[in-house]
């Protein structure tokens, strides 16, 4: 019996089906986009930190370490003299510190200010965009969380984060990425607010819906004109917007909040590639063009190779 399809047709069919499956997969994963100016989802939660209210008591740091089971950082890289091994003296966010209160003091003058640093929970986080297997993801309520079973430890999140937040356990053989997750597993899931906001005695940092917090911050600015730097909320637009918002009495860059553009980094990084790689169309088109040219040149090359073999008695070398 003669087969209805010859081998070439069968091969083409298999390749076509494979391509369709691959294409389908690519489409299904590539559902979400990276708009230049992302909009917070209505249920996005966050924190508002107002450093004019902060007394620097560091209760939030203790509460954070306790809630997250973090060990004390007893080695202070800035001042070895205070590294007595007794107290928690981190100099900055590190693999044992997800939340820190830092002090900024003007070089000449009495002005000073505290600043609380932790993950900003961006609306379109660069770390999530870069994470190859989705270990970091934008979870429920917009919390940016880390899943150990998908992380390969490439540290692209550290390179990408404009706020230098994710930290890597350099001293561990099976290292984790350590960053504030808004106490997602520890508290948020159980309808509790994050540990830091829960303990703040002056309510310098408060927890809530991002839209409500933004309204509250703008209300404070309106109520006390001239009190807050630039009369604006840091995080409303920075890097496409963050779910942690700041009000500050001193310049943002002085307390370590970097000057950033308003577009999301994810948008900047993927605006061209998302078009080229849509349904793998770019690579397929390039393959088609190259393939047809190569096929033509290949035929000519083979013809010449046959000639040369006749002449020298040696087969061609590919």
């Amino acid at each position: 019996m003669k087969l209805a399809v010859n081998r070439r047709q069968l091969l083409k069919g298999i390749m076509g089906a494979g391509g369709a499956v691959a294409g389908g997969l690519v489409c299904s994963v590539a559902a979400e986009e990276h708009p230049a100016y992302p909009v917070a989802s209505p249920d996005a939660v966050g924190m508002l930190y107002d450093n004019t209210k902060c007394t620097g008591c560091r209760a939030c740091m203790t509460a954070c370490s306790e809630a997250n089971g973090l060990p004390a950082e007893t080695l202070c890289p800035i001042d070895p003299a205070i590294s007595t091994g007794l107290w928690d003296v981190p100099a900055d966010l590190d693999s044992k510190t997800k939340n820190i209160i830092k002090l900024y003091r003007e070089k000449d003058g009495d002005n000073f200010s505290f600043v609380k640093r932790q993950c900003m929970h961006c609306l379109d986080p660069a770390c999530v965009t870069g994470c190859p297997f989705g270990a970091l993801k934008k979870n429920t309520w917009g919390a940016v969380t880390w899943n150990s079973s998908f992380c390969i430890g490439c540290r692209y999140c550290e390179v990408a984060c404009p706020f230098d937040v994710p930290k890597f356990q350099w001293d561990q053989w099976n290292p984790k990425i350590v960053k504030c997750e808004l106490c997602f597993d520890q508290r948020l899931k159980n309808n509790q607010e994050p540990a830091c906001t829960a303990v703040c005695p002056t309510r310098a940092v408060i927890f809530g819906n991002r839209n409500h917090l933004l309204a509250e911050a703008k209300q404070r600015i309106a109520d006390t004109p001239g009190k807050y730097f630039e009369g604006r909320v840091y995080g409303e637009h920075e890097a496409g917007g963050t779910q942690v918002l700041y009000l500050s009495g001193v310049a943002f860059d002085k307390i370590g909040l970097p000057k950033l553009g308003n577009t999301s980094l994810g948008h900047y990084a993927t605006k061209v590639s998302s078009v080229i790689y849509k349904w793998l169309s770019g690579p397929i088109v390039v393959a088609g063009i190259l393939g047809s040219v190569i096929k033509r040149n290949w035929k000519r090359h083979e013809a010449e190779a046959v000639e040369a073999e006749k002449e020298t008695g040696l087969p061609e070398q590919l």
Binding site: V29, I152, G153, P162, Q169, P258, A287
Partner: protein, 434 residues
Amino acid sequence: MNANGTAGSTLVNHWQRGVPVYREAVVETPFLFFSAWAAVGLALALVRVLSPLGPFSGMNDAYAWGIWKTFNVMTLTALGSGPLAIGMAAWVFNCRKLHVVMRTALVSGFLFYAAGLVALGGDVGRPWNFWHVIFPWNWNTHSAMLEVAVCMPLYCAMFLGFENLPMLLERIYYTGNGRVKTNLRRWAPTLKRIYPYMITGAYVLPVMHQSSLGALLLLAGNKIDPLWQSPALPLLYLLAAFVCGSGFVTFVLLIACLRYSRRLDIGLLSELGNVISVSCFVFLAVRFADLIVRQQLGRAFVFDNMSVLLLLETGLILIPAIALRNPKTRETPRQLLLTAISACLGGMVFRYVPTTVAFSPANRAMYFPSTPELLISIGYISLVLAVFGIAVKYFAVLPGELSEWNQMSKVFSERYRKLRTNKDTSWLASLLTR
């Protein structure tokens, strides 16, 4: 000879086919030298497998990527892009002379890629989670890192592996017995049938991941100096791969032929010089068009550290671009060698600088590779050189004349005759005699 005897045919060259290096002993001083460095590097790499990254490397949270990623992968795979640069020139742009130097490009390219991948394996903190790569539903398709993680091993193992296969099979054919020969002859047509499709893939994939290496830096945003941070980085990284790839193949050919006293094919080398020059011009055109569009051109000439680096990189690429337009330069081996080195260095400076030197996280931190980190990095490079030195002796890699091939086969058949009279026909014996 071609029917009408025109120059520029695929096979009629001074250099006509790859010929194993057969006069020299397998173990030579440079081989021992590089093997020693490779051994030190690999031993330390093994220690790293058992040790956390922290005490071992100079990396920190601000400079989370050290030289294993930024130099061994992001910079050196540009040197390993010879198969892309020369392959596209030969198969797509029809520079048919260049076919004979493809094997030099393929072996060196494969080795640089393989070493880069090994470096990457030792650099990541949780390699045991890498198995997710085989399940596309675990992919974050927005991530340039994913593109690199999928594309690079696939290209190295499947496409570069396939392209290097004929060379391997050829050796097995010539050293094998009757049954091996029959089997190989039976499979040869299949191999040739899929060959054009495979080389198409072998050009599409590196175009994708070489540009993705540049795309990795986009997310770093304004941590990278605006002289480098640009939406054109992916394209520039790809073009730099062409500059480095063509330059490095030329460099390797010249050095290896000098070392093993092969006669040079000036016509072909001149063609390679042409490829370098064109690659350099295209790179510079895009580089400066980008600087002008982003209004950074003025900053390029303020002569601060960053501007000097940019000018250094530009100079290193501009010299070969212009000098190699002159046929005399292209045809003078010494000048060709120097300009090829210049192109390689220029491309490497461009690829390396934005990852480390022009990368300044807000946190005032420092990074300098630790001694073991450096030794491992040097070890991987030495491994490439040592293996390359062996490969050219066992396989028909370096190009030579037909007479060279005939002489080689005479020497070898003499050795085999002696072996057969000693009744030793094992593959190992043939390996020892080459």
